[in-house]
Symmetry: C2
Subunit: 72 residues, 2 copies
Amino acid sequence: MIIINLDVMMAKRKMSLNQLSEKVGITLANLSILKNNKAKAIRFSTLDAICKALDCRVEDIVEYVPDEKEGI
Amino acid sequence: MIIINLDVMMAKRKMSLNQLSEKVGITLANLSILKNNKAKAIRFSTLDAICKALDCRVEDIVEYVPDEKEGI
DNA sequence: ATAAATTTATCGAAAAACAATAAATTTATA
DNA sequence: TATAAATTTATTGTTTTTCGATAAATTTAT
């Protein structure tokens, strides 16, 4: 499972969703969807813009969480 | 700029593109496009499958490279 | 040279981003 | 607690892009 977590970096940068959406260049509504893990894909241009806006690495905001099961 | 790099992990797992495409469940052609940074977006389901197939983290295969310029 | 692996190219279909907008909900604050 | 601000959710339409299927071209290995 892929998890998006913008909260930590947003807090660190003291940035609101509104501010972030402006910096990133996508609408508040769509950024909210992304933030709440309702999106099913992402354009690299968007991911790039987010990393840039939050001045962070990819791993600061997107994580792969293996589903527990076989081979723990 | 967002960079996809599958080579390192593929080497580590001694896995060919062909094998990976089968494990991931997308065609060889499309995986090649992704591997060579020709894709403009990615579905989380695909990213998830790749991390699973290569047993690695997101940051092992996708990286944000800030463009040098202002504020170095 | 031959085979295997990978890349590139088409085409079409399905999926999904994203904009624009508005309403609902949650959270903060005076 | 009333009000405002921030965030989430919903809807509709457009556009973009994935991805499958397939084949050809190219590169790499044997």
